[in-house]
């Protein structure tokens, strides 16, 4: 594990020698900060005259402001994360430095955990930036610490899962820009699919004259399909969690997702040793 630490440290420092570390943290600070101010001002307006905005009373602070804000932050991190992950392994292949790493006395796990660890530290820095925003609320509202902490945790968990997907893609594609674009495309697709899935009706829209036998089957398939679309996208589970609803299935979803993609990355790195 000492070697993993060394690899991770080098990766992390390289991030801040090149501009990419500053770019991603700067963008996150800018976007989440702006979003914070704008949505907070909107909430203030709404709570001053709730009737104008169609609310019958002052809407719940956590539900209308805090939780959507956390979800927004998670989605920002998701879309910016290719800047982090496209470098992790693709760049080593592209520059040929993989030839050094793979001939040094290193295990695959040193390389993978080192790289993933450095990405997690950058994620942590991003979370700290977001935390700075929401901590501004503490003196002015009765939001509890635990709610904020839980929201930040959900952003972190989501970010971790996203980084593991990016790491895996980075291990497959030896050209960093392509790896970044492919990850970005996948996140975009998931985001769109997740949003569309929410608008699908709960049961299959079949005409009433449809044969009964087929109807049951199609109904089942449709429900399966719909729940897959609802459950698979990375950002959907953060919505519950950011509301402060602690459901083991949401946490498990992110942890399992991370473990699964780290596992795939191991297989992908190992595949070089399969004799051809």
């Amino acid at each position: 594990m000492k070697s993993a630490w060394t690899i991770g440290k080098r990766e992390f420092l390289s991030f801040f020698i090149t501009p990419s570390g500053y770019v991603i943290l700067g963008l996150i600070a800018l976007l989440t900060g702006t979003a914070f101010v704008l949505s907070f001002l909107t909430y203030v307006q709404i709570s001053q005259s709730p009737f104008q905005f169609g609310y019958s009373s002052v809407p719940d602070f956590e539900e209308t402001f805090l939780s959507p804000y956390f979800v927004f932050c998670g989605i920002m991190i998701m879309f910016l994360s290719p800047i982090i992950t496209m470098r992790l392994l693709s760049e080593e292949y592209h520059r040929g430095t993989m030839e050094l790493l793979l001939t040094y006395p290193l295990r695959d796990r040193d390389i993978i955990f080192g790289k993933f660890g450095s990405a997690l530290i950058i994620l942590l820095l991003a979370i700290i930036l977001i935390a700075l925003n929401v901590c501004l609320l503490l003196p002015f509202s009765d939001v509890e610490w635990s709610v904020l902490l839980f929201g930040l945790c959900s952003v972190f968990l989501m970010g971790m899962a996203v980084l593991s997907v990016g790491l895996f893609i980075s291990s497959l594609i030896t050209y960093p820009i392509t790896a970044g674009l492919v990850s970005f495309g996948i996140y975009l697709l998931m985001f769109i699919v997740g949003n569309v899935a929410e608008k699908l009706p709960a049961s299959a829209p079949l005409p009433g004259t449809f044969p009964i036998i087929l109807k049951g089957m199609i109904e089942r398939l449709y429900i399966l399909f719909r729940s897959l679309l609802l459950e698979l996208p990375l950002d959907n589970h953060a919505k519950n969690m950011a509301l402060g609803i602690l459901e083991p299935k949401d946490i498990a979803y992110y942890l399992l997702c991370t473990a699964f993609f780290i596992f795939l990355t191991f297989r992908s790195l190992e595949s070089r040793n399969w004799r051809k």
Binding site: K2, S3, I7, G96, T97, L100, T103, L106, K276
Partner: protein, 238 residues
């Protein structure tokens, strides 16, 4: 120290190495010669565990590289042909990183970095960023990262390419001094270099070892040139 048996490597359908076998004793310096595309770099990449062979075994010390990669790689210092380096790092931080990855203990870190910096003549550029180094200095840094931690087996793919004449002499002297303690396998296109540095030369052509020459230090170096051309043209006539 290095034992290769029936090593075969296919790139798709193309056969880059055909049942190559040889062995190198401890402390020997062996040159790998051959025309472009003969398979020298392929051989070295397999020996260092960067890629697997299609068939055959490679033993470094007592360890089969494919079965005990970690133990075998601890014994190897490797200079790849294209000298890949982390361009954004400084020479200093890169060498420290390599020493740590190779498991040099913390207390010896500085002395082992200083040692390779001295032997490879990197003092002048020690605090520079690798991306701005000249070709020759990159080559020296590649050599330095291979030698750091003083591995018993040193595998160098064209080590003197791009060096200035004085540095060529110095690096050759360095490689010569590596013999005895270290086992050295190097590839080169300069025939006289082999007769200067090595006790033995393997000539590779189209993935096969076509000749093995023991170099007599008292004989003139023209001999190896003849042997090389003969070995390669013989292959061409078949």
């Amino acid at each position: 120290m290095i034992e290769v048996q029936k090593l075969t490597k296919y790139y798709g359908l193309f056969c880059a190495l055909k049942e190559v076998s040889f062995s190198i004793q401890k402390g020997e310096r062996v040159g790998l010669l051959g025309p472009n595309g003969a398979g020298k770099s392929t051989m070295m990449r397999i020996l260092t565990g960067f890629m697997p062979a299609s068939y055959g075994t490679t033993k470094i010390g007592h360890y089969e590289i494919h079965e005990y990669p970690l133990e075998a790689k601890r014994l190897i210092g490797y200079l790849p042909e294209r000298v890949p380096l982390y361009d954004e790092m400084t020479v200093k931080s890169f060498l420290k990183f390599v020493a740590q990855v190779k498991g040099v203990p913390r207390s010896e870190l500085k002395s082992s970095v200083d040692e390779v910096v001295h032997t490879c003549g990197l003092e002048q550029v020690f605090y520079r960023i690798i991306g701005v180094l000249s070709k020759g200095y990159r080559q020296r840094l590649g050599l330095a990262q291979a030698l750091i931690g003083s591995p018993p087996v040193v595998i160098l793919d064209e080590p003197t390419v791009g060096l200035d004449p004085q540095q060529v002499v110095e690096i050759r002297e360095l490689i010569k001094n590596l013999g005895g303690k270290h086992t050295v396998l190097l590839s080169t296109h300069i025939l006289s270099e082999v007769s200067l540095l090595c006790s033995r030369a393997l000539i590779l052509n189209k993935g096969e070892i076509v000749a093995e020459i023991t170099i007599d230090p008292s004989r003139p170096s023209a001999e190896i040139e003849q042997a090389f051309l003969k070995a390669i043209s013989k292959e061409g006539l078949d």
